[in-house]
């Protein structure tokens, strides 16, 4: 009898040496090593003498960022003024991009989400119209997102020549797509209770979406928009490499002359701007969230 009861005890499973999590990590690592091998990454290339020397020089410069030109030329504007100006141009570019992308993204998000759709649509024409709009918006978003802003930039610049407008349109296309995708996801994650309550007391579909979904989605939407503004700032810096005179342009010029201390000043300036944005966005988010409590 005693033996039987021991046998019927639930057997505790001994965890295997390579459990599920470890095997996932193992496969990821294996695939990564194969990839590294295929693209020709050689560990000793990283530590070749020449690159080590340049790297130490580069990182040494990080301790003492330049406050004046390393090779001053008479008659040029003071260095720090140039740094501030390039930051302002970068910020302007980012804000121009965002002020176009956010409205377009919001409209695309509205078209691509099902959050405001009536629960049962009677007429088939209405239904198919909504469906087509939905599919068109979704495919446009996927397509716009899948091409990098710099490639859109190259297309527009080769087609129309280098101009600020071309660059802004180029960044706006993928950014409005990404914003639309995230906005739509946020709309769909919200609790539907308020919306259905408004519907029940007779409000229209649009109005009940406006008062039932958007207010609760707002904190998330704002913090994502701030993150995108940060990305727009980085995109603006990158567009310096195709000729718009943002901070990236200055970084390229300084780096081409091996003035690494100047490069670090620009990098720190970019960092401070982004840190400031992050702090501001955090403040807004906290004050919006505390309202709900």
């Amino acid at each position: 009898m005693a033996k039987k009861s021991i046998n019927s005890l639930p057997s505790t499973t001994v965890s295997p040496l390579i459990g599920k999590r470890r095997s996932i990590l193992f496969w990821i690592t294996l695939i990564t090593i194969i990839c590294g091998f295929l693209i020709g990454l050689k560990p000793d290339n990283l530590f070749s003498n020449n690159s080590l020397k340049l790297a130490t020089e580069f990182f040494k410069a990080s301790i003492s960022p330049a406050i004046d030109y390393e090779n001053p030329v008479e008659g040029t504007e003071p260095f720090l003024k140039v740094v501030v100006e390039s930051i302002l141009i970068t910020l302007r570019f980012a804000i121009l991009v965002m002020s176009v992308s956010v409205p377009i993204g919001a409209i695309l998000a509205f078209l691509s989400t099902t959050a405001w759709w009536p629960e049962n649509i009677n007429s088939t024409t209405k239904k198919s119209l909504l469906r087509t709009l939905h599919i068109i918006a979704r495919s446009w978003i996927a397509f716009a997102r899948s091409i990098h802003e710099l490639i859109w930039g190259i297309i527009f610049i080769t087609a129309m020549g280098l101009s600020t407008e071309a660059a802004i349109v180029a960044v706006t296309i993928p950014f409005s797509g990404i914003l639309a995708k995230i906005y739509a996801e946020i709309f769909e994650e919200q609790c539907k209770e308020t919306q259905s309550m408004f519907r029940a007391i007779g409000a229209g579909y649009f109005v009940s979406f406006l008062v039932g979904i958007i207010p609760s989605a707002l904190p998330d939407i704002i913090s994502y928009t701030f993150y995108r503004l940060e990305c727009a700032l980085r995109a603006a810096a990158v567009f310096g490499f195709v000729g718009i005179e943002t901070i990236g342009y200055k970084i390229k010029l300084s780096s081409d002359e091996f003035h690494y201390q100047e490069v670090w000043t620009y990098l720190y300036a970019l960092f401070l701007t982004i840190a400031l944005l992050e702090w501001w966005g955090g403040k807004i988010r906290v004050s919006l969230n505390s309202k709900h409590v």
Binding site: I39, L41, R92, L150, A235, A275
Partner: protein, 307 residues
């Protein structure tokens, strides 16, 4: 309630709604900044005249039609040409290169971020981990504040550097080696993964890690044995989400001069082979969409595991 009372009540409710000075102030600043950026002088004085621009555009639109189609007028004739471009000229290999760069880069940043992120999470790197007082030594208290601040700033700093700029700088240091691009992607994503990861740890409210620490376990053990197993799937979800953006980013990094898709695109542009350029761009977009689908599939499976 009479009609008047109703109106009065509505007005009262409206007056008493919650207001936030910071939100209002931010709105004003935002509007002012938008107005400034639209009205200030042009960012780039274009040297090209309007006529030249429309000639350029016409030229471009003519040239993006594939060569065989331009000759015969049939789109089906271009299919072998597309195949030749992608297969014989190395487009497919360049596409694989894009995946390879992204995969290695995200692995490096994942490992590094994982090592630093417990130090950046506010609830662990303090003298009171998870609200439990473990020591009351002034010096160690200050030390923990410094550790936390430094690691957070490290994440923010690396995050603020764009991959493309990093790639450019690293190529000038390391020379034309795939390491430059991999490290560029890895450094930026290290900052992002670290921040996202430390947020996961900060939002972990379960009792197990607390029990660990109150029983005398250290921060590291409590992190490894109680927090990581609980949030493993969520961390992997972020890992794959960043992998997806790495794929997107590495399609352009090649433009800096390493043989990959971006390099072929800029070469086609320089040679004014606009038709080839468009084919390569569309191929790149296909790769990004493939990456998206793959990562979406993995992430949705990971989410299922969690529940």
């Amino acid at each position: 309630m009479s009609k008047e009372n109703q109106i009065r009540r509505i007005k009262e409710l409206h007056r008493n709604r919650s207001k936030s000075t910071i939100v209002r102030f931010s709105l004003l600043v935002l509007l002012a900044v938008i107005a400034w950026s639209w009205t200030a002088k042009s960012l780039h004085e274009s040297l090209i005249s309007k006529e030249q621009r429309s000639v350029n555009l016409q030229n471009f639109l003519e040239k993006i039609i594939p060569d065989p189609t331009r000759e015969s007028g049939k789109w089906s004739d271009s299919l072998p040409w597309v195949f030749k471009n992608l297969h014989d000229d190395g487009g497919l290999i360049a596409g694989l290169m894009t995946f390879g760069l992204a995969t290695t880069a995200i692995w490096i940043s994942g490992i590094l971020a994982f090592m630093i992120l417990p130090m950046a999470s506010k609830n662990l790197a303090t003298h009171r981990p998870l609200g439990i007082m473990v020591s009351n030594n002034k010096l160690t208290n200050i030390l923990w504040v410094i550790v936390n601040r430094v690691s957070r700033i490290l994440f923010l700093f690396t995050r603020s550097l764009p991959e493309y700029v990093l790639g450019f700088l690293l190529l000038s240091i390391l020379g034309p080696d795939p390491w430059a691009l991999v490290l560029a992607l890895a450094i930026h994503n290290f900052g992002i993964l670290g921040r996202l990861g430390s947020e996961i740890i900060e939002n972990n409210n379960s009792e197990t890690p607390k029990a660990f620490i109150s029983q005398g376990s250290g921060r590291f053990n409590s992190f490894m044995a109680a927090m990581v197993p609980e949030s493993f799937s969520r961390m992997l979800v972020y890992y794959f989400y960043r992998w997806e953006t790495c794929v997107r980013e590495s399609t352009v990094l090649g433009m800096l001069g390493i043989a990959s898709l971006g390099f072929m695109i800029s070469e086609a542009k320089a040679g004014r082979d606009f038709d080839k350029m468009i084919v390569l761009i569309l191929f790149g977009s296909l790769i990004v969409i493939l990456g998206d689908i793959l990562s979406y599939w993995v992430r949705s499976r990971l989410r299922l595991d969690k529940s």
